[in-house]
Every structure is written in C-alpha cells, then in structure tokens.
Amino acid sequence: GAGVSQSPSNKVTEKGKDVELRCDPISGHTALYWYRQSLGQGLEFLIYFQGNSAPDKSGLPSDRFSAERTGGSVSTLTIQRTQQEDSAVYLCASSHGLARTQYVDEQFFGPGTRLTVL
C-alpha cells in the first residue's frame, strides 16, 4: 500500500470491554512495531514483529495486552478488560527489517488509533 494504515481512527469503549486495533503495514515490510503515546508523553514501545513472530514483547504493559501478526502482514493489538489508564494513541510502524548496512531502516508510522476508555 501507499503507507501504513490503522483502524479504527478513534475508539471509545467502556471500562472492562475488550478492544482490537488493526495495523496494515507497507507491503513488503517485514518488521512491524506497536507504540503507545499518552498525552504529552513520548512514544512508548510495546512490541516488535519480524514476519509473524514477536521476538520482543518487552513493552507490553500487562497480560491484558496481546498482539498477533498473520501472513507477515496485518497485525492486531488486543487489549482485554480495558482500564482508563489504557486511554492513549496507539501507533503502528513498519520498516524493511533488513540487516542495517549502509542504508537507513527508517520506521514508517501510521496515523494511529485514539483509544478512549470511559
């Protein structure tokens, strides 16, 4: 695709409900990242995928958070039993994911999903 897309753009949910956020990376990008950005804060790393596997899940805040990636493409971030502190913008990024040699493996970000937990 032309860029990274995310859906929905906005999600309002009630405390305790489960939510699913979707990310469509740039075609051909093997690396995919999820970040969370709270108001006035920097981006907080959540999880990294290389292909369909997740070698680094170290940023997931609790076991209520999980993510999967299928077919080396689309990824879904699931938050179970949402809490008010989960309210934030969730950003997805993708990159070539090739070994860094002489080029810049920049990350391309989607527009984010704004999650509001009431």
Partner: protein, 115 residues
C-alpha cells in the same frame, strides 16, 4: 534510570531564525540517533539519522549533531518557516542484529515559528 530529555517547554521563534532543539540522554550507548517530526493527529515522520561515528549530518535546512561523549544531539532548522511548526521527536536507535531497530523516544519539543 535511563532517560531521554528534550526541551520540555515549547520553542517559539521568529520566521527566518534558526531553531535549535536539544536531546540529552543517560545510560544508553546508541549506535544511531534518529529525529522525527510529528504534526497534530498524525504519526511521526522520519527526518534524519546520524551514526555514532558521525559528528554532523545535514539535509536541506536541517542539521543534526551527535556528541556521544556529552550524550547529546542538537537538531537545527535554519531559515525557519511557519510550516516547520510541529513537534520534533528524538529517538535513540538501539539497533540489534537481524534488522531490528528498537527506538526509544523522547517526549518531543513543540516548535512554533511565527511570521
């Protein structure tokens, strides 16, 4: 503790002047450092990457320096324009083998360029 600090206050400058944004970090030894621009309601957009063995990198009106001794990067926009108004994010690039580059972001500095 590990920290990345950027100018916490918004930076207001006059059009045509040079904007200088600061990124300081502790307890990391990044191989690379990246700068991104973020506009309201949008995801960050990559601007520049500088390697640890580079002192300076330029791209059009942008200049980045990287001092691994001071653990500091400076980001300059020369001949600033109102269109440069945005939040600028510094990110330490902790590259690992296999094509995985983990970015640790600062909170960003909001720049406002006034006509």
């Amino acid at each position: 503790s590990q920290k990345i600090e950027q100018n916490s206050e918004a930076l207001n400058i006059q059009e045509g002047k040079t904007a200088t944004l600061t990124c300081n970090y502790t307890n990391y030894s990044p191989a690379y450092l990246q700068w991104y621009r973020q506009d309201p309601g949008r995801g960050p957009v990559f601007l520049l990457l500088i390697r640890e063995n580079e002192k300076e990198k330029r791209k059009e009106r942008l200049k980045v320096t990287f001092d691994t001794t001071l653990k500091q990067s400076l980001f300059h926009i020369t001949a600033s324009q109102p269109a440069d108004s945005a939040t600028y994010l510094c990110a330490l690039d902790l590259s690992f083998s296999g094509g995985y580059n983990k970015l640790i972001f600062g909170a960003g500095t909001r720049l406002a360029v006034h006509p």
